[in-house]
Amino acid sequence: MTCSRNVAVESLAIKLEKLTDGGLVVFGNESRVGETAKRHLLEPKLQRQPAHVAVEMIDKFSSKMQSASSELLDGLCARQTLAIPCKRPLWRRAWSAYMRQRCLYPGLLQEWALRVARCGRAQVRKVADECQSEILGNANIILCTIASTSRLLREWQEVCGKKPRIHTVIVDECGCTTESSTALLIRLNPTNLIMVGDHKQLPPTSMIPEKKLVGTGHDQSLLARCCATASMHILNEQYRMHGKICALVSYQFYENLLLTSPTIVDDRQRKEKHPLIWVSVRGKEKFLPGKTSPVNYDEISAVLRVVTSLREEHPCASISVLTFYKGQLEVNPLTAYQCAGQNSLVYYECQFYFLGLQIRNDLTCRYAFVYVCIHVCIYV
């Protein structure tokens, strides 16, 4: 299973850990993966292997033997050099030969200790390789980010001496995966590829200006390209949104296919009768000196009014104000509340959201500067 971010790897690891005790292996950078995923990296799994305990003992003894050998060698050298009665070469050679004969057993012991240390190290490597090979051989679910698939291939090749045989690759969050990552997935040579995601939500991030991207197809994921012409499965029952918000989203973006789970409908309806309120503001956009992003002061004061009354009614509620305009974000007086720009609030969950759509009064009637309608879907 692959996905684009380590956060998603962690979520999947939490779920899959309960299903497979020894069969889950995670590949990735230790400093970047989450706590659960970290437990299933190759190295920590190796540490937990019973055979590895023996390996540690051998390693410890090998180190001791190495130091003992060095100590012996130092002692022998010191004894030979200190005890030379005469500095003349002939005497020196004769004395060395005599001492070698006299310290024959310590000398042999030193060589033996060194040999044992080397042999121990080789044994450690061998057992570690066998353990790793065993872990990978038993693995039936491999979890990593798409970027880490190269590491997976490399480490597998190093340990097992061959490429992994992968039956199915499942790509999570495929709606925001760039098309260029697909080559990394194909390199795994899977029999099946299952892409799970939503191309109507967050697209792949791009550094190229939005205007240049329009119509090029570069900003779409493989999932979006595939879904344009091919059939797909749709999971149409949702558990997150209030039924009325779901109806709007479903009508606008999902061709009325979305349904709300009956349990969620009842639960949310009990908590909130009016989940979606439209506040019409007839303001005008203004440009501050030196700024290119417009500001709509009328909208700010309208939002301030509603937020204040909401705060009085719900003192502990989490409130978010979202805007597509950078200018609006900079001058918004709602410093006590969370304010965010276009792409920064996707993973927060709050109780109340204010979304400034700012429909333009020109012929285009488009939402703010948003060229791609999907961005509005993400926020709603």
Binding site: M1, S11, L12, L16, L19, T20, D21, G22, G23, Q49, A51, A54, I58, F61, K64, M65, E71, L72, G75, L76, R79, P106, V116, N138, N140, I141, A147, S150, D172, S180, T182, A183, L184, I186, R187, T191, N192, L193, M195, V196, G197, D198, S206, M207, I208, T216, G217, H218, T229, S231, M232, H233, I234, L235, N236, E237, Q238, Y239, V249, L258
Partner: protein, 366 residues
């Protein structure tokens, strides 16, 4: 020549317009590319085993792509057009990043004629993406450095734990890629870079950030483009190139057990997995993570595990027979291999003897 309509296309209509695909410096080509009859013959080489109807469909799909019916400005798919990409194979994988140049985006068609066109278009657009990131300048900070030799330098004033491996850095005006790093003290890092450094002494280092992702993607695309022309692509690859067509996958034909507590759409999805490339759309709040887990269960555990429904899925204490077998298999690790125990006794004995000998030698005075 006016562009033909889809209905007018037939086997005799072969494009004659020119315009080769200009890869490196290129401006996206708006005219129709050259297409030969051979390059249209997908079924013979690349898609063996297809029935005639599918072949025909694929033929027209390719023709649509080639003549720009599916989209505008599509580059031609001749094998020679990937030569620019193949030039970045092996040790030259860093070249496009060390010598960045401006490129134009090429329209990504809905279907690709072959793997070479796919690699060309995607690699070109990926390098455009890199160019835009590069043009934004050193976003990851500027540091002072001290060059030592030609292979590396010490960086001062950076957070040593952030890591700079596979970062693009500009040192005294020339671009380099960090290939290794070592922490050399607080706020100090030893960085090995390629290509070798010419500048000596104190230098200014501009960090453009991590480009390892681009490099691995380029390597994968080059590898994909390097495949032999007579090598048959997998069904997954065929589906990626031409998503309109469904190629069969290899799934066990069995129904997910009714005791697995998932909703009807999730069940239908998991039970309906048949093709090599399957697309599952999970609109917001559909817990498609649950579906991912179910697919895993479906593939590996068949229906012999029982579940309880917590927030998503968890395994019940009492598991099925197969699960128990799997558990045993996963716990079956290599026991102490015979040489280890023997080895330990030898080590213990030898260690004691060596220590005694060392004490004797060192305490002896001439």
């Amino acid at each position: 020549m006016p562009e033909p309509r889809l209905s007018e296309l037939d086997d005799s209509w072969v494009a004659t317009s020119s315009a080769a695909y200009p890869p490196a410096t290129g401006v996206a080509d708006a005219s129709a590319p050259e297409v030969s009859q051979e390059s249209l013959d997908l079924s013979a080489q690349n898609f063996p085993g297809l029935d005639q109807g599918t072949e025909r469909l694929l033929y027209h799909a390719k023709k649509d792509v080639a003549f720009g019916v599916a989209g505008a400005s599509i580059p031609s798919s001749d094998i020679s057009n990937v030569s620019w990409l193949l030039a970045f194979g092996g040790q030259k994988k860093f070249d496009p990043f060390l010598n960045p140049c401006e490129r134009q985006l090429i329209h990504v068609p809905e279907e690709f004629a072959d793997v070479f066109q796919y690699c060309s278009v995607i690699a070109n657009n990926m390098l455009v993406e890199f160019w835009h990131e590069f043009r934004q300048g050193a976003r990851a900070g500027n540091f002072c450095g001290e060059v030592q030799g030609t292979k590396g330098l010490y960086i001062k004033g950076c957070n040593a734990y952030d890591g700079m491996v596979h970062s693009l850095v500009r040192i005294s005006g020339s671009l380099h890629i960090a290939t290794a790093q070592e922490i050399a003290g607080r706020d100090k890092l030893w960085l090995t870079v390629i290509p070798g450094l010419i500048a000596q002494g104190s230098v200014q280092v501009e960090n453009f950030g991590y480009i390892g992702g681009y490099v691995t993607e380029l390597v994968a695309l080059v590898e994909l483009a390097s495949r032999k022309t007579n090598e048959s692509p997998s069904n997954v690859l065929k589906s990626v190139l031409c998503p309109r067509l469904d190629f069969p996958g290899k799934f066990e034909r069995r129904e997910l057990s009714p005791i697995v507590p998932i909703n009807e759409s999730q069940r239908q999805t998991v039970n309906g997995l048949t093709h090599a490339l399957e697309k599952i759309q999970g609109p917001p709040g559909n817990i498609y993570l649950c579906t991912c887990t179910c697919i895993n269960i479906h593939i590996y555990y068949q229906n012999e595990i029982e579940y309880v429904n917590e927030t998503v899925l968890s395994v019940q204490e009492r598991r099925g027979r197969l699960d128990a077998q799997l558990r045993r298999a996963s716990l079956k690790t290599i026991s102490h291999p015979p040489p280890v125990s023997l080895f330990l006794s030898v080590i213990l004995h030898t260690q004691r003897r060596t220590q005694l000998a060392a004490i004797t030698i060192n305490s002896h005075t001439p």
